[in-house]
C-alpha cells in the first residue's frame, strides 16, 4: 500500500506552524493500545449500581393487550421494573417530533421496540429477568418494504420536493431518454462499543450521566423532559465513544434516559449497556431507498432534464429523517449539473426501527443514485462512463445546484478528477481490462472512477454553532474543553493542536478534558463533519482572548507595543525581553488578569429557506474522487476489489495522519455499505434477521485491497475555515461509489448491449442476479423484506 502525504504547499502558511499540519498521533493512542482508555463500561461503578436490561416487543405492529411481569419480578436479583408509569415527565425520547416513546404504551411500531426495563443487581440477572415477560399484542400485518408503505400511503413526514426549470419539456425534447429504479440498502453503524450509559443520582433530583453520545446536550435535555426537571439539574458527560458514525447522535438518548429514570426511581446508580444483538434491534440505521428516476440526454450523454423520486424507508417514527432525506435531495446532483431538474421525496413509515443519522446523513444514497444514472447513460450511449461524468461535471457557467447555491470551486473539482484519472492510469487500465474480459469467459474485471462533492454545514441552521472553555492555570498548563465529542475521529487531538499553536506551547501542556454540558452548554451534536470547523474555531477564539490579555500584560510590563508580543517555543517574547509561558501565567494571576475564557463560534454566510427551497445551505463543499478495480466470478457472484486509488480534498490539513485515517476508514465503511453489509428483515414479521456480526458482515482486513493508494489533494479552503482546512468526517464514505460502479462495470462486460440491473448492496447474490439478467436468465425477484 502506498500513502502519499502530499506537502500542503498550495498556499504556504504565513509563519511556520509548530503543531498544526503535523501528523501527530491520536491523543489516546498510547492508552488505546494498552487497554487503558476507559469507556463507560470500564469506569469503576459506584457501590450499589443497578444494571438495566430492556424488555422488547415480540411483534412489529399492533395494540398492546397485556404485559405480565410476574415472572420478571420473581427472578433472583430483580430490583425494579420500569414502565411508562414510572415516568414523572413526558414519555418521549425523540429528538424533535415527539413520536419516540421511551416505552411503548398503547401500540407497538416495530419488532423489538422497548416496552419496559428491568433493574437488577447484575447485568446477567437483568437480562434473564427481562426475557421472562409475557407480552400480548393484537398483531397487525406490518409494513416492512417500501412497497408496503406506499400501498398504505403511510408516512412519518410530509412529502417534499424542489427543482428548477421545466423538467417535463426538457425530458420530452431530449434526444435520448431512459428511466429506471435502484434499490439502495441501509446500514448498521456497528460501532464497536455498543450503546452505554451510567446515571448517578445526586441531591434534590440532580442527575449525572455518563453517556456514549455524540449529542450530550440532547441527552441532558431529554432526561430533563422525561424526569420533568429543569435542564440545569442534569449533567451529561462523555470522554470518548467506541465509535459513533451517527449512531449515537439521537440514538444514545433513550438508554441514557432509561438509566436516569432508574436512578431517579431507585436512588441508586443505574447502568445500561446494550447487548450487541439488542443494539442491532433497538437502534436505527442508515435509511434504505428505492429511487425512481427519469433522465433525458444527448448523444454525448449530457443531461438535459432529470427527475427523481426518492422513496425513503424511515421506520416507525420521524427521528432525524427530515434532515437525512433533505440531504439526499441536496446530494442528488453529486458533482453534476442538472439543467432542468425535479427532486421529490417520500418519507415512508414502515414498522421497522426508526432509521437515523449515519455518516453522510442521506447524502450517500442521493449520490449513488446519480452515479447509477451516469452508468445508465454511458451504457445507453456506448461511451466510457468517465466521459459521461466529465460531460456533466459542474463547470464555470454550469455551476448552480438544483437548490440555487453556486458551486464556487469548480476548478478544484475538475482538477481533482483529472489528476486522479492520470495518476490511476485510468485509460491504460481501461484498455487492459477490456482485453482481459475479451479473453475470459467466467471472470470479468471492472473499473470505475467517480467524484464526490459534499456540502458542509448542518442544514438545520441553528446547529451551526459551538462553544469552548479554556483555562490557563498559574503553572502554565491549559485546560481545554469544548462542545465536540470524541468518537475516534481525532477531534480532541486536532483542537489541542489548534490551542497549543495559539499559545505557542508544547502540546503536552494542553490537557484535553471530557465533554460535559456543565462546561459548555447548548451544543450541537458532533455530526455533519462539522466537529473541527465549529469547535476548533470556538477554541481558537477562547484561547485568542486569553492570549490577548496575557499579551497586554507583557506589553505593559516591558513597555512594548502589544503587536510586538509573540508566543512561541513555550515562551513569550516582547522586544528584547522574554519569559516562560508559565512565568507569564503566574504573573497574570498575581496581577489579577483573568485566564479563563468561553469561546463561541457561529458559521457565517449560510441560509436555507426550506419552504422556498432557496438559499446557501452549505458554507463550502469538500471534494474527492476514487478509482476502483474489481474482479468478478460470474458463476457465483463473488468478487474482489483489486485496486483503489483515492484523491481527496481536505483543504490544508490540520493533521494529515488523522485526515488520511478518516478517508481510508470512511471509504472502507462505504465499501461495506455497498457490498457485504446487508440488512435483512423478515417480510412477514418485520423481524431483523441480521442482528450480530455473525450474520451482518462489515469489511475485514482482507476486503481492503492490497493496492490501496490514498493521497491528499493539495488545496487550501477558499472559505475562512479553521487553518484553511476542510471537514473530512463524512465525504470519504461516498468514495466507495466507485466500488459499486466498478462491480456493475464488470458485469456489464458479459453483454455490453444491456444495462446492469444491480442494486445495493452488491452482495455476491446481487451480483450473480445481475449476471443472470444479462445472460437472459433473470432470476425470480428475491423476497425482500
Amino acid at each position: 500500500m502506498n500513502i502519499h502525504h502530499d506537502p500542503d504547499d498550495a498556499a504556504p502558511d504565513a509563519e511556520p506552524l509548530r503543531h498544526v499540519r503535523k501528523p501527530l498521533p491520536h491523543d489516546s493512542a498510547r492508552r488505546h493500545v494498552q487497554g487503558a482508555a476507559d469507556y463507560i463500561d470500564d469506569v469503576r461503578e459506584p457501590a450499589g449500581t443497578l444494571h438495566v436490561a430492556i424488555g422488547m416487543s415480540p411483534k412489529a405492529r399492533g395494540a398492546i393487550r397485556g404485559l405480565d411481569l410476574a415472572a420478571v419480578r420473581a427472578h433472583p436479583g430483580f430490583v425494579h421494573v420500569l414502565t411508562a408509569a414510572d415516568i414523572p415527565g413526558k414519555n418521549d425520547v425523540s429528538p424533535a417530533m415527539g413520536d419516540d416513546p421511551m416505552f411503548a404504551v398503547d401500540r407497538v411500531g416495530f419488532h423489538g421496540q422497548a416496552l419496559f426495563a428491568v433493574l437488577a443487581e447484575t447485568r446477567d440477572a437483568a437480562r434473564r429477568a427481562a426475557a421472562k415477560a409475557v407480552v400480548a399484542i393484537a398483531e397487525e400485518r406490518p409494513s416492512v418494504t417500501v412497497e408496503d408503505a406506499l400501498a398504505r400511503a403511510e408516512t412519518v413526514l410530509p412529502d417534499y420536493g424542489f427543482g428548477r426549470g421545466e423538467v417535463e419539456p426538457a425530458l420530452a425534447s431530449a434526444p435520448h431518454r431512459l428511466e429506471g429504479s435502484i434499490r439502495i440498502g441501509g446500514q448498521e453503524h456497528f460501532y464497536l462499543e455498543g450503546q452505554a450509559a451510567l446515571a448517578t443520582p445526586g441531591e434534590e433530583g440532580d442527575i449525572h450521566v455518563l453517556s456514549s453520545t455524540q449529542h450530550p446536550t440532547e441527552v441532558q435535555h431529554v432526561i430533563a423532559r422525561v424526569l420533568g426537571i429543569p435542564d440545569a439539574y442534569v449533567t451529561c458527560e462523555v470522554r470518548r465513544m467506541g465509535g459513533g458514525f451517527g449512531g449515537k447522535e439521537s440514538q444514545a438518548t433513550q438508554w441514557a434516559a432509561i438509566a436516569a429514570l432508574g436512578a431517579h426511581v431507585t436512588k441508586r446508580p443505574c447502568k445500561v449497556r446494550l447487548d450487541r444483538d439488542d443494539d442491532f434491534v433497538l437502534t436505527g440505521k442508515r435509511h434504505d431507498f428505492r429511487s425512481d428516476f427519469r433522465v433525458g440526454f444527448d448523444a454525448d450523454g449530457v443531461i438535459a432534464g432529470f427527475a427523481v423520486t426518492h422513496n425513503a424507508r424511515c421506520g416507525y417514527s420521524a427521528d432525524l429523517s427530515q434532515g437525512v432525506v433533505d440531504r439526499t435531495m441536496f446530494h442528488s446532483d453529486n458533482s453534476y449539473y442538472l439543467p432542468a431538474v425535479r427532486i421529490d421525496t417520500r418519507r415512508l413509515l414502515t414498522n421497522t426501527v426508526s432509521n437515523t443519522a449515519f455518516r453522510g446523513f442521506g447524502g450517500p444514497q442521493g449520490m449513488l443514485m446519480i452515479e447509477h444514472v451516469m452508468d445508465r447513460i454511458a451504457w445507453a450511449t456506448d461511451r466510457d462512463p468517465l466521459d459521461v461524468r466529465y460531460a456533466n461535471l459542474y463547470r464555470p457557467g454550469r455551476d448552480v445546484t438544483p437548490y440555487g447555491q453556486t458551486v464556487e470551486e469548480t476548478g478544484t473539482l475538475c482538477a481533482l478528477v483529472e489528476t486522479l484519472e492520470r495518476t490511476s492510469e485510468y485509460r491504460t487500465r481501461r484498455a487492459t481490462i477490456a482485453a482481459f474480459n475479451d479473453g475470459s469467459k467466467l471472470l470479468k474485471k471492472g473499473l470505475a472512477l467517480t467524484p464526490v462533492k459534499f456540502g458542509i454545514s448542518f442544514t438545520l441552521m441553528h446547529l451551526n454553532q459551538a462553544g469552548a472553555l479554556v483555562h490557563v492555570y498559574q503553572d502554565g498548563s491549559v485546560h481545554l474543553n469544548h462542545g465536540g465529542t470524541e468518537m475516534g475521529q481525532g477531534l480532541y487531538q486536532k483542537i489541542a493542536q489548534v490551542v497549543a499553536e495559539e499559545f505557542g506551547i508544547a502540546i503536552e501542556r494542553v490537557r484535553i478534558t471530557a465533554t460535559t454540558t456543565g462546561k459548555v452548554p447548548n451544543t450541537a451534536p458532533t455530526a455533519a463533519s462539522s466537529g473541527t470547523d465549529l469547535n476548533g474555531m470556538a477554541a481558537k477564539i477562547a484561547a485568542g482572548k486569553i492570549k490577548a490579555r496575557m499579551a497586554a500584560r507583557v506589553a505593559e510590563r516591558f513597555g512594548v507595543p502589544e503587536e510586538e508580543v509573540a508566543f512561541r517555543d513555550d515562551r513569550v517574547f516582547a522586544g528584547n525581553e522574554s519569559l516562560a509561558f508559565a512565568e507569564l501565567a503566574k504573573d497574570c494571576v498575581l496581577n489579577r488578569i483573568h485566564l479563563s475564557e468561553a469561546g463561541f463560534y457561529r458559521t457565517p454566510e449560510i441560509s436555507w429557506d426550506r419552504a422556498a427551497a432557496k438559499g446557501r445551505p452549505f458554507l463550502y463543499f469538500a471534494y474527492g474522487a476514487a478509482c476502483a478495480e474489481t474482479l468478478v466470478d460470474t458463476l457465483t457472484g463473488e468478487y474482489r476489489i483489486t485496486r483503489v486509488d483515492i484523491l481527496h480534498d481536505v483543504g490544508k490539513s490540520i493533521n494529515p495522519a488523522i485526515d488520511i485515517g478518516q478517508i481510508e476508514g470512511g471509504f472502507v465503511q462505504g465499501m461495506g455499505w455497498l457490498t457485504t453489509e446487508e440488512l435483512v428483515y423478515d417480510a412477514e414479521s418485520g423481524r431483523l434477521r441480521t442482528h450480530a456480526p455473525s450474520t451482518y458482515k462489515i469489511p475485514v482486513a482482507s476486503d481492503v485491497p492490497e493496492d490501496f493508494r490514498v493521497a491528499l489533494f493539495p488545496n487550501a479552503n477558499t472559505t475562512d475555515v479553521i487553518y484553511r482546512s476542510k471537514a473530512v468526517g463524512e465525504p470519504p464514505v461516498m468514495l466507495a461509489n466507485a466500488v459499486f460502479c466498478a462491480l456493475a462495470d464488470a458485469v456489464h462486460a458479459l453483454d455490453p448491449s444491456q444495462p446492469v440491473p444491480l442494486d445495493a448492496p452488491a452482495t455476491p447474490e446481487a451480483v450473480l442476479r445481475a449476471c443472470e439478467a444479462l445472460r437472459g436468465n433473470p432470476m425470480p425477484p428475491r423476497a425482500v423484506g
Binding site: 488505546h32 494498552q34 487497554g35 463473488e638 475485514v700 481492503v704
Partner: protein, 491 residues
C-alpha cells in the same frame, strides 16, 4: 479429585473454585478481576474485541494462541496461561506491536484496539518470519475495526513483525512454563461445584464415561465456539458442563497414507496442516474457517457433534469419506459421517455418548478433490453454499463420485442423484454434463434465509459443480484466487 480451576496470570498460579460453571473468561476478567482492557464487542466470538492470548504447554514449550474471551468458559483456562492486553507492557514500555500501532495511527476510537493488539501479539510471538500480507489478514480476520479501514493496522503489523520477539515476554513464557508444569503434573479429575451444578474436566476417558453415565444430560464442551453462544445469547440455564479438554486420548492426530485420524479435541488450527496436506482446497477451506480465534478454540469434533446445518467442514469431509467414532459407557460405535446428521440440529448421538474421533479417507492415485465455500464476505463468514467433490478418474472419464453440499438442506448432505449421473461422465464433452448438473435440483430443495435466497443457492450449487468439472477437465480462469496446487499447509 480437584475442586478448583488452576491457571496462571503473569507467572502466578490462580485458583478459582467459587465461579458459576458457565462464567466466561471475559466476565471473570472484567467483573471479578476489574481488568477492563479486554472489551466486549459482540459476545459471540465474531468481533475480536475480547481477544486474549491463551498459552499452553505443548511438549515442554509454551504455545500461545488468540482466543475470544467472551465465549471461552473460565474452566477452559485450566492448565493455561492467560495473557491480556494489560500484561504485555509490564514495565510501562510498550510492546513492539503496541508501539507500531501508535506510530502507524492504527487506532481511532480504540475500542477494537486491545483485541487487535492481542491478535498481532500472538502472531508476533508465534509466527515464523517472514509474515506476508495474507498471513496478517488471516491473523486479523477475527478482529473487526469500524474506524480505520485496516490499512494502518496492517502497516503496523508489518512494522512490528520486522522487530525481534520481546525479551520480557521470553521471561514471562519461562515463568508460565514452570508454573504450568506444576499444574500439569496433577492428573486428577477436575470437578468445580457439586452434583447439580458443576464444571467438570475428567482427565481420562474412563472418568469421562463414568461421569457421562451419571449425567447423560450434561452439556459436553469442546471449544465453546458454539456452546458459548448458548450461554451469552440464548441465555440457556446450563448448569452441568463436562469439558473434554483434559482427556489426552481425544487429542490424537495421526496420519497414514490412507487415513487421517483426528481426535475430538483437535482444534481447527491443529488440524489445518494435516487437512491441507490432503488437498489445497481443504487447506483454503480451513484458512477461511471462522477466524484465528475460532480455529484456536473450536474443534473439528465439536463442529460435527453440534450438527450445524451448514457446518463449513462436514460437506468436505463427507465428500472425502469419513467415519465418525462415538463412545460412551454403553460402548463404542462407528458410522459414516453423513449418517450422523439426522435432521435439522438433530444428530445420532445417544445420551451419555460423546464424539471420540474422526477417521478421514485420504486421496489415492486417480482421485481428485475440489471444494468451494461461497459466502457473503470472503473471510470470517459462514457459507451460503458449500460444495465438495471427490472424483475417481479413469482417464478422461469420472469413474466414481462423492458429492456433498452444505447450506442446501437441513443438514450437510450427499447428492446421490448427482453422484449417479456423474458416473462415466466424459470430461471432454461439456454438453454431456447437463444431466449431472440437472440432477442437483432433485437432490436438494434449499431454503431462503438471511444469507441467500433459495434460487441463488440452487444456481450456485449447480455452478460449483460445473466449476469443479471445468477445472478437472483442465479449464482455466475459473476462480478469483488461483488454486494453490501442490501447496501444503498454509500455517
Amino acid at each position: 479429585m480437584r475442586d478448583a480451576i488452576r491457571f496462571t496470570r503473569n507467572g502466578t498460579i490462580r485458583e478459582v473454585r467459587d465461579a458459576h460453571p458457565r462464567t466466561t473468561l471475559l466476565d471473570w476478567l472484567r467483573l471479578s478481576e476489574r481488568r477492563t482492557g479486554t472489551k466486549e464487542g459482540c459476545a459471540e466470538g465474531d468481533c475480536g474485541a475480547c481477544t486474549v492470548a491463551l498459552g499452553r504447554l505443548v511438549e515442554g514449550r509454551m504455545v500461545y494462541e488468540p482466543v475470544n474471551a467472551c465465549i471461552l468458559l473460565l474452566g477452559q483456562c485450566d492448565g493455561a496461561d492467560v495473557v491480556t492486553v494489560e500484561d504485555i507492557a509490564p514495565d510501562g514500555r510498550l510492546h513492539a506491536v503496541q508501539e507500531a500501532m501508535v506510530a502507524h495511527h492504527g487506532s481511532q476510537c480504540g475500542f477494537c484496539t486491545p483485541g487487535i493488539v492481542m491478535s498481532l501479539f500472538t502472531l508476533h510471538e508465534e509466527a515464523e518470519r517472514p509474515v506476508g500480507r495474507e498471513a496478517i489478514n488471516d491473523a486479523l480476520a477475527g478482529n473487526l475495526c469500524r474506524c480505520t479501514g485496516y490499512r494502518p493496522i496492517v502497516d503496523a503489523a508489518r512494522d512490528a513483525l520486522a522487530q525481534p520477539r520481546d525479551r520480557r515476554f521470553a521471561e514471562h513464557r519461562a515463568a508460565a512454563a514452570r508454573a504450568l508444569a506444576d499444574i500439569a503434573a496433577d492428573r486428577s479429575d477436575l470437578h468445580l461445584g457439586d452434583e447439580t451444578r458443576f464444571f467438570a474436566a475428567p482427565a481420562s476417558e474412563e472418568s469421562l464415561c463414568a461421569l457421562l453415565a451419571r449425567h447423560p444430560d450434561a452439556t459436553i464442551l469442546a471449544g465453546a465456539t458454539d456452546v458459548g453462544l448458548w450461554i451469552t445469547k440464548a441465555l440457556m440455564e446450563i448448569e452441568t458442563i463436562v469439558w473434554l479438554g483434559r482427556v489426552d486420548a481425544l487429542r490424537v492426530l495421526r496420519g497414514t497414507p490412507e487415513t487421517l485420524t483426528l481426535g475430538a479435541m483437535v482444534s481447527h488450527a491443529d488440524a489445518h496442516a494435516a487437512l491441507a496436506a490432503i488437498d489445497p482446497d481443504l487447506g483454503e477451506l480451513m484458512r477461511r474457517f471462522g477466524s484465528a480465534q475460532v480455529r484456536a478454540s473450536g474443534t473439528v469434533g465439536g463442529n460435527i457433534a453440534n450438527g450445524s446445518p451448514i457446518g463449513d467442514l462436514p460437506p468436505a469431509l463427507i465428500a472425502l469419506g469419513a467415519t465418525l467414532h462415538l463412545a460412551g459407557a454403553e460402548g463404542a460405535r462407528a458410522l459414516p459421517l453423513e449418517d450422523y446428521f439426522l435432521a435439522y440440529r438433530r444428530q445420532d448421538r445417544r445420551p451419555g455418548e460423546y464424539v471420540r474421533a474422526l477417521e478421514i479417507d485420504t486421496l489415492r492415485k486417480h482421485d481428485v478433490f475440489r471444494c468451494f465455500k461461497v459466502t457473503k464476505r470472503f473471510d470470517e463468514d459462514i457459507s451460503a453454499v458449500m460444495g465438495a467433490f471427490r472424483f475417481r478418474l479413469d482417464g478422461r472419464r469420472i469413474a466414481a463420485a462423492r458429492v456433498a453440499y452444505g447450506g442446501m438442506a437441513a443438514t450437510p448432505k450427499r447428492a446421490p442423484q448427482v453422484e449417479a449421473a456423474l458416473g462415466g461422465l466424459d470430461l471432454d464433452d461439456e454438453l454431456a454434463w447437463a444431466p449431472a448438473l440437472d440432477a442437483l435440483a432433485r437432490d436438494y430443495r434449499p431454503l431462503s434465509d438471511h444469507r441467500a435466497s433459495a434460487d441463488y443457492r440452487a444456481l450456485v450449487a449447480r455452478n460449483l459443480l460445473y466449476k469443479a468439472l471445468a477445472e478437472i477437465a483442465g479449464g482455466e480462469g475459473t476462480r478469483i484466487a488461483p488454486r494453490a496446487e501442490g501447496l501444503a499447509a498454509a500455517e
